[in-house]
Symmetry: C2
Subunit: 154 residues, 2 copies
DNA sequence: TCTTGACCTCAAGTTCACTTGAGAAAGTAG
DNA sequence: CTACTTTCTCAAGTGAACTTGAGGTCAAGA
């Protein structure tokens, strides 16, 4: 259980326990390149402390409606081998915050119009500006529509 | 093309044109009971004017991160046969707004902590209150996690 | 040494919200 | 009546984000 090469490395089970993620999910993120675990000579995954931070970031970003693809793009700004510095995280944080602000603004505008629009019964797509078909997700391709509109641009 | 029994009824194609939805999506919502179309003697779907309003509601609610299941629950408060009144829509609107407020609040709290948390590199699940594993979606069952946390409670 | 538990890979299954395709029937225009 | 468009049903496919299962390996304790 204590796979620790003296450098504070963690097994997948320990990471799962600390993050609340399923072991299978962590493997999946590793396969998808969102994190990149080292290996023991025997082939078992080893994680460093900052991998937990990466996973936390993934979870929070998902709650905000970012897809794994978008999160991967954000995380590319972080070093994989070296433990990211305050400056590294700060860079991501700023871009992240801009998207957060945009999303909050969208919801606030929506709220401000809600009573006057759904409330009055005028809700009709051609007349009501609450809903704008132009920027709907899922214009292209099949599969389910995105639940919240996309925001990270490459 | 003009299937109109004198009462302003609309064909599925006309509803698709007015809402911007695909015909297949409208059929799907009908099958799922989110709307409930009448039929011609020949079996073709007929829609009343307020069905467009229901569809608008579905689209907007989806943008806010509600699942179809949650939206179905909300729409159950509306009469299916009778055209919903201002009072009917108002009731939904209030509940809807409460969820909107909650979601905005969550994002604002997240934003306020973002610089101090991700920015400083302290992002760690056991210490950081940004992320709360307790109310994560997808605790039960398989399949993809909800993108934004659930809010409509039955 | 044997057993046990955590871990491995790879393939296939699952949910959501649809779309696509096949084959048939309804309704309209000429 | 014929041609054509629209609509119908039903089955199967799609993408995202995982989970589940089968069958095998690694490492620590009795």
């Amino acid at each position: 259980m204590a796979i620790d090469t003296g450098k504070g490395l963690l097994s997948i089970g320990e990471v799962a326990a600390r993050t609340g993620l399923a072991v299978s999910a962590i493997r999946y993120y590793d396969d998808e390149g969102l994190i990149s675990a080292r290996r023991t000579p025997g082939g078992k995954r080893l994680f460093i402390r900052s991998d937990i931070r990466r996973l936390s970031f993934i979870l929070i970003a998902q709650q905000l409606g970012f897809s794994l693809e978008e999160i991967r793009t954000q995380l590319k700004q972080l070093p994989l081998e070296r433990t990211p510095t305050k400056r590294d995280w700060g860079r991501i944080s700023r871009g992240f915050r801009a998207h957060l602000d945009a999303r909050i603004g969208m919801l606030e505008r929506l709220r401000d119009r809600l009573d006057g629009c759904i409330g009055c019964g005028c809700l009709s797509l051609d007349a009501c500006k609450l809903y704008n078909p132009g920027d709907r997700a899922g214009e292209s391709g099949t599969g389910p529509r995105l639940v919240v509109q996309k925001s990270v641009t490459g």
